[in-house]
Symmetry: C2
Subunit: 332 residues, 2 copies
C-alpha cells in the first residue's frame, strides 16, 4: 500500500485494511477500536462543541503539519471557551494518489498532539475522491470539551477591560506565506502552531476569569478585535508599539504588503480581562513556556462605538479595519 | 454575491457577510447566532458522537442533495446506536466559483431536515479553496446524540438472532450510479435518503431491543453483514429470495455488473434481533411509513465461523463476500 486508491474509500475490504493497518495503528484506543457508527461515552455538565475543516497548503510547514494543526486548532477553540478538551472526531478527505507514507506522518503528529492534550479520538471517517477532485488531504476535526469556567464570551467585553496577547502576532500566517513564496529556506520563521489548554488552565487555576478569549486564526488579531467590538458593542484602543511582532514577520509583511495583524496565529490567545486582573494575568502568562512574549496591547475605552482604533507611537490614531479581500487562501 | 470567492474564506469582512447573509439566513438559532469559537450546552447521560464527510457526486440527485444527506446520515449514525439526535456541527469546504444560489438550496435542505430531526446545528465552519483544489462542495457533519437504549452494538450478535432490513436494498447507490451514467431521466429510481430516528424510536418504544442496528451506506448490505460476522464472531445466513430489491435497481445492476448488496442505502436499517422479537419487529417496521418494505432476510446460524452465506432459491449456498475494488467513488 504505497498510495491511496479509490478502493480505499469504497467501504469494502480495502477500506477495512486501510483503517486497520494505517489509521488504527496510529490512533487506536479502546473506544475507537469498537468501530461502531457512533461512539458512546458518559458526559455530565456543560458541554462545549466546535468544528473546523483544515485545508492548509502546504500540508507540512515549519513548526507543524495539517495533523498537528487539526488537533491544536480543536483544543484551542475549546480552551477559549473555558473548556477542557475531552473527545475529538476526525474525518479525512483524501485525493486518489496521496502517498500513504505522508498520511502516516500526519497521523503520527495527530497521535502525539492528542496524547499531549489528554483528548481521545473516538469517532472517525475517511473519504477518497478521484485525482483532481481535492488537493491532497483535507481534515475535519470536531471537538467536545467540558466547560470548567462558564460565561466566557465575545459578548462580554466592558469599558475598562484590558486586552492582552499571549504571544507574538501573525507567526503562523507569515510562515505559510513564506513557504508558499519559496522564501522559507533561510529564515527562523516558524508557525506558532500549539495547543493552549495548559496555558488557559493555568490562568483559570490562578483565579483569573477573562471576559473573553479567542485564538486569532484566519483574519488574525484585527478580525478578533473587530468581532469583539461588534459583538460587545464597544470601542477598543490598541497601542501599536506594544504589539509583539517578530522582526522576521515584520520584514516579510513589509516585503509582501501584508499587515501582521491580518495574519493568522495558531498558538496564541487574545484575552480581554477586567482592569484589576490585567497585571496578574500578564505575570501568569509570562511565567508559562507558551506565554513568554505576552503583552498588554490595549483596552476597551468606550461603549459608544463598535470599532477598533490603533494608536501609533507618534500619538496619531487610525482605524484598525477588519481584513478584507483575498489575503491568504488555505492558511489553516 | 453570485459565486463563492476566495475572499469569502479569508476570515475577514467578506466571510462575515457570507455567514450573516447566507448561512445564518437558513440555519440560525439562538446558540449558533452567538458566533463563539465553540458553543456551550448542558448535557447529562450517555452521549453518542459520530462524524462523516460528504463528497457525493452529483451533489443533487433524485430524492435529495448533499445537504439532506449530511443531516440524514448523521441522524442515522446516531439512531443505530439507540441515540436520539440532539446537536450537529457542520463544516463546508467550498470551491472558488461555486454558485451561491446552489449553496442556498443545499442550506435550505439542511434546514428542513434539521427541523424534522429536532436536531440543532450549534457550531459551523466554512473554508474556501482555489478553483481546482476541490470539486464544488464537501460537507462534514458531526453529531451528538443522547443514548436512549444502551448496549446496541455490532459485537452483540448471537446464534439464533434474526436479520431484518427496513426497506429495499441498494436504492441510493443505484440512483447515484444512474445519475452518473446519464440514465436517470426515464426511471422512477430515486435515492432512499431519509432520516430514520422516528422509525428506530418507534421500535424502542414498542419494547423491542435489537442486538445490533446499522445503516448500510458505503459497501452496502454485504459490508454490514460481513463486519457483523467478524465483530461478533458468527456465521450469518441470508435467504437470497427474501432480499427486497426494486426491479429498477435489479435491472441497473444486471446492466452494469453490480451486486445490489454492494450498493449503498441512505434510508434503510439492518437489524439483528432475538428470535422471539423478530415477527413483532417486522410488524412494527411494516406499520411505519419508512418501513413498509421491511423483510426478514436471514439469521445467525453458528458461532463457529465469521462469514456470511447466501442461500439461493435453488437451495445452493455461496459466500456473500465483502465488496472489494473501486465500486462507486463519491457515493456519499
Amino acid at each position: 500500500m504505497k498510495v491511496i486508491t479509490l478502493s480505499h474509500g469504497s467501504g469494502g475490504e480495502e477500506t477495512q485494511k486501510l483503517i486497520e493497518s494505517v489509521f488504527l495503528k496510529h490512533l487506536s484506543n479502546e473506544i475507537l477500536a469498537k468501530m461502531e457508527d457512533a461512539s458512546v461515552v458518559n458526559f455530565e455538565g456543560q458541554l462545549a462543541f466546535t468544528t473546523d475543516s483544515f485545508v492548509v497548503s502546504p500540508y507540512r510547514f515549519k513548526g507543524g503539519d495539517i495533523g498537528k494543526l487539526a488537533v491544536a486548532g480543536t483544543v484551542n477553540d475549546l480552551a477559549v471557551m473555558g473548556a477542557r478538551p475531552k473527545y475529538m472526531s476526525c474525518s479525512f478527505i483524501l485525493e486518489e494518489g496521496f502517498p500513504v507514507e505522508e498520511l502516516e506522518l500526519i497521523l503520527g503528529s495527530m497521535a502525539s498532539e492528542l496524547q499531549r492534550a489528554g483528548m481521545k479520538l473516538i469517532t472517525a471517517d475517511t473519504k477518497v475522491v478521484p485525482r483532481g477532485s481535492a488537493d491532497g488531504i483535507f481534515i475535519n476535526a470536531s471537538g467536545i470539551g467540558e466547560v470548567i469556567c462558564p460565561g466566557i464570551s465575545a459578548h462580554n467585553l466592558k469599558e475598562g477591560d484590558v486586552i492582552l496577547v499571549s504571544g507574538s502576532v501573525g507567526d503562523h500566517g507569515a510562515c505559510i506565506l513564506a513557504e508558499r513564496e519559496g522564501m522559507n529556506f533561510d529564515t527562523e520563521l516558524q508557525s506558532d502552531c500549539a495547543q493552549l489548554w495548559d496555558l488557559v488552565e493555568e490562568v483559570l487555576r490562578e483565579g483569573v476569569k477573562p471576559s473573553a478569549m479567542r485564538d486569532p486564526t484566519r483574519g488574525g488579531l484585527a478580525a478578533v478585535l473587530n468581532e469583539w467590538a461588534k459583538q460587545s458593542g464597544v470601542e477598543i484602543e490598541v497601542e501599536e508599539e506594544n504589539l509583539p511582532v517578530k522582526s522576521e514577520v515584520q520584514g516579510l509583511c513589509e516585503l509582501l504588503g501584508f499587515e501582521p495583524t491580518h495574519l493568522a496565529n495558531e498558538g496564541m490567545i487574545v484575552f480581554a480581562v477586567k482592569e484589576g486582573d490585567a497585571e496578574r494575568l500578564l505575570e501568569i502568562l509570562r511565567s508559562h513556556p507558551k506565554g513568554r512574549s505576552a503583552q498588554i496591547i490595549g483596552r476597551v475605552v468606550s461603549r459608544e462605538r463598535s470599532r477598533v482604533v490603533l494608536k501609533t507611537p507618534y500619538g496619531t490614531k487610525r482605524l484598525m479595519e477588519p481584513p478584507s479581500g483575498e489575503l491568504l487562501p488555505r492558511i489553516c
